[in-house]
């Protein structure tokens, strides 16, 4: 036995160079950890890092795990869950450390920074800081753009210093589009309304159905509740907000509203609606918007996304439950005029109006079918398409809505969203021609894939980050959080794991959200 072990030792040892010496932690991180009572990682409890099941999230989590083990002497466990379960656990604060990402709804640092305010439904960390609240609040009412930006930058500095989260990288948008899919533009938001897409030329499917792999199932398909990009991609086709994304640059263009006026103080917006109908034939009125918005901020609806409406007068009080939903500063002056009163000027209002949270909903349908109202065939929308079939985890079929106000301009008659969540399987389906459009691919093959002629890249106003649950010890100590954040090598993660041109993030707000 001993001889065998010796032989194996020889076998294992020969041809291998000495292992590299262990990387020394940055002295700053080691010092912070020691100050917090864990010198060299001793006595640090075994925490769990939660991520949603995906190959790239797993690799990034493993890289972070190893960096903490090696440089700080801290061992953590990794756990993964399917997207909906993951979201549920994060929302219930049933986690210690979790992976998150955020796509800014408007091109402004505020879209990111207000996530970590107290009233935000998207702040699972349990962290709040009076300084931070004060700075964000001051930026809301600051009329001078330069001073406003300085306030936001100061707030971001507080956020990074206190580190309830740590950023990893800023996304780029990836798209692989078959050459017969025309009219796809790369834009700052990676938003591609299908009604502007055409199928033309060699290889175009004979049945005229465009197949897009949408990946994970959305967390919800209720416009008031959905807060993920998967949900928005579905809802923006079934509903139409006051404004909608221009397919070329994703800037907001008039949609359900034909025009809008802003009062000189920037606090009163008047939207003039176009003549339009719901898919069941009912006329679309300003009251439908008022109903939808009151419903979104109503605490009984339980939206974790309604803080996006907090700039509307009265929204905060309604969300807090101290005022009835009828006090929300949005009213229908007549059937086609919507007047919105704001707490402070919000030049980004039209960008927000493109989001599902601000979509109108059909009151009779919601009241009749309750939680099931979003399921075909109950669903009544005002968008360019009807969701005619929804097989959970498999596919969603969209067909042109003949009653859409601009039905004549909708070029694509039908399309399908597939839910292939494994990027390798999705890529195989794409290469086999069963899928015509992809936005995710296996990271191992990324450096070759981004050189393909069918690849379309673009900026993405989004950030990938990790959050700490600061209610749990020892994550309540900012020194621990900073030390953990400090030793993660972002450059290596983007260069060797992601391989698709993403940029390492040393700050939270992506460069796309900053003024040029």
């Amino acid at each position: 036995m001993r001889r065998l072990a010796f032989a194996l030792a020889l076998l294992g040892g020969c041809g291998k160079a000495e292992p590299p010496p262990p990387a020394a932690a940055p002295p700053e991180a080691a010092r912070l950890l020691a100050e917090a009572g864990f010198p060299g990682g001793r006595g640090f409890p075994r925490l769990t890092v939660l991520y949603n099941t995906s190959e790239s999230h797993r690799k990034i989590a493993a890289a972070i795990q190893e960096a903490w083990r090696k440089q700080l002497g801290i061992e953590v466990e990794l756990a993964n869950a399917e997207w909906k379960v993951f979201l549920d656990r994060v929302n219930r604060a049933d986690f210690e450390i979790a992976r998150r990402a955020w796509i800014g709804e408007y091109l402004d640092p505020h879209a990111f920074l207000d996530l970590f305010t107290k009233e935000s439904g998207q702040n699972p960390t349990g962290w709040s800081s009076p300084d931070y609240e004060r700075l964000i609040g001051a930026s809301d009412v600051e009329p001078d753009p330069g001073r406003r930006l300085a306030l936001l930058e100061e707030a971001e500095r507080v956020l990074l210093e206190e580190a309830p989260m740590f950023p990893i990288y800023h996304y780029v948008a990836h798209n692989w589009v078959k050459p017969f899919v025309k009219g796809v533009h790369s834009n700052s938001r990676d938003m591609h309304p299908m009604q502007h897409v055409r199928l033309e030329g060699e290889g175009a499917p004979a049945d005229g159905v465009l197949v897009f792999n949408a990946g994970e199932e959305p967390g919800s398909l209720d416009p008031a509740l959905s807060h993920d990009i998967a949900g928005l991609k579905v809802l923006m086709h079934v509903f139409e907000g006051l404004a909608a994304y221009d397919p070329r640059d994703a800037s907001p263009v008039p949609a359900a509203a034909e025009r809008w006026e802003v009062s000189p103080d920037g606090k009163t917006w008047t939207f003039r609606l176009r003549e339009a109908r719901w898919s069941n034939g009912d006329p679309l009125t300003a009251a439908d918007f008022v109903y939808a918005w009151r419903r979104a901020v109503d605490p009984r609806t339980g939206s974790t996304y309604s803080h996006r409406m907090s700039f509307i007068r009265g929204a905060r009080a309604v969300s807090a439950g101290t005022a009835p939903p009828e006090t929300l500063g949005a009213r229908a002056a007549d059937d086609r005029t919507l007047v919105v009163e704001l707490d402070h000027p919000a030049p980004y209002f039209p960008q927000l109006a493109c989001l599902n949270l601000f979509f109108p909903v059909h009151r009779a349908t919601v009241e009749k079918h309750g939680r099931e109202w979003m399921r075909p065939p109950h669903l009544v929308g005002n968008g360019p398409y009807l969701l005619t079939s929804w097989k959970l985890g498999d596919r969603k079929l969209f067909e042109k809505n003949p009653l859409y106000r601009a039905a004549a301009e909708v070029k694509l008659e039908r399309f399908t969203f597939l839910s292939i969540s494994d990027p390798g399987a999705a890529l195989r389906a794409y290469d086999a021609g069963q899928v015509h459009w992809l936005f995710q691919a296996p990271t191992d093959r990324m450096d070759a894939l981004v050189r393909r002629p069918d690849y379309l890249s673009g900026p993405a106003n989004s950030v990938y980050f990790y959050v700490f649950n600061t209610r749990k010890k020892p994550l309540d100590d900012p020194r621990v959080r900073r030390a953990l954040s400090m030793v993660v090598d972002r450059e290596k993660i983007v260069k060797y794991i992601l391989r698709g041109g993403e940029t390492a993030a040393d700050r939270f707000v992506p460069p796309t959200a900053l003024p040029k």
């Binding site: 291998k16 292992p19 690799k59 190893e66 756990a79 494994d422 390798g424 450096d447 060797y496």
Partner: protein, 303 residues
Amino acid sequence: MTPAIAAPAADAGVAPVSRSPTRLAVRRFVRNRRALASAGLLALIGLATLAVPLLSPLDYREQDFDYTLGRPNGRYWMGTDALGRDLFVRLFLGGRISFAVGLLATTVSVALGLAYGSVSAFAGGRTDNLMMRLVDVLYGLPTMLIIIIVMAFLRSRSVVTVFVVIGLFGWLTLARIVRGQVLSVKELAFVEAARALGVRAGPIIWRHMIPNILGPVIIYSTLSVPAAMLSESFLSFLGLGVSEPETSWGVLISEGANALGTERNYWWLVAFPGAALALTLYCLNSIGDGLRDSFDVQQRQDR
């Protein structure tokens, strides 16, 4: 009690030896070259999964970002994965989990299936009917779904739970096989004889029946080892099995399959774990084959 079996006429001149059925089986097995070589190879692989991770100078967690997705070379004999970890060490480390899952899950399911099937067949009548209908009902349930629910319910992230849970749901087919075999053996003369001698049900099942039905059981269990290994990789993918930085063959192979592409091939990521799994399964199958041949008591001739 055990009379010495007289040596056959062909062996005249050789000193008569006492040959128990087990010894005969061992002899037959040893003479089966393919089975013996497979057993040796399997033992070697098993030993290597224990020894290599201990002895290698490279740690299975060590990430070398200067050499991610690197080809096999002098330092990394089987190349590196996307995080620059040595595949050689990880392969053998993953083998530990896969071996353990395969063997433990199979042991659990064989023990359950053998006991359940033989009791059911031996009891016969209403008890048999009732027990087999229960198996039918359990058959109707989607096994993977139940495993997932049980795993989620237990909320235990220990790998041992994976082994046991997979085993707990793998015995149904085996119970049926065993029952069928026992039914056919039950009416044979030697069982009658034992019964006539007043041997109780337990010893009859254990000493007289089970040795006679071992053949199909062994074949089926060698086939259920790979099935258990595959179930483990599926559970790991769902986040219910092993998690980083630990690994298993199933996990390594599914990772490697994603890295296979037309533009650039990281073939080592799938070739080595795939070869290891294939080799192990081949060994298990030929061992099973050899065991069946040698334990087959109907095969009286001692060639």
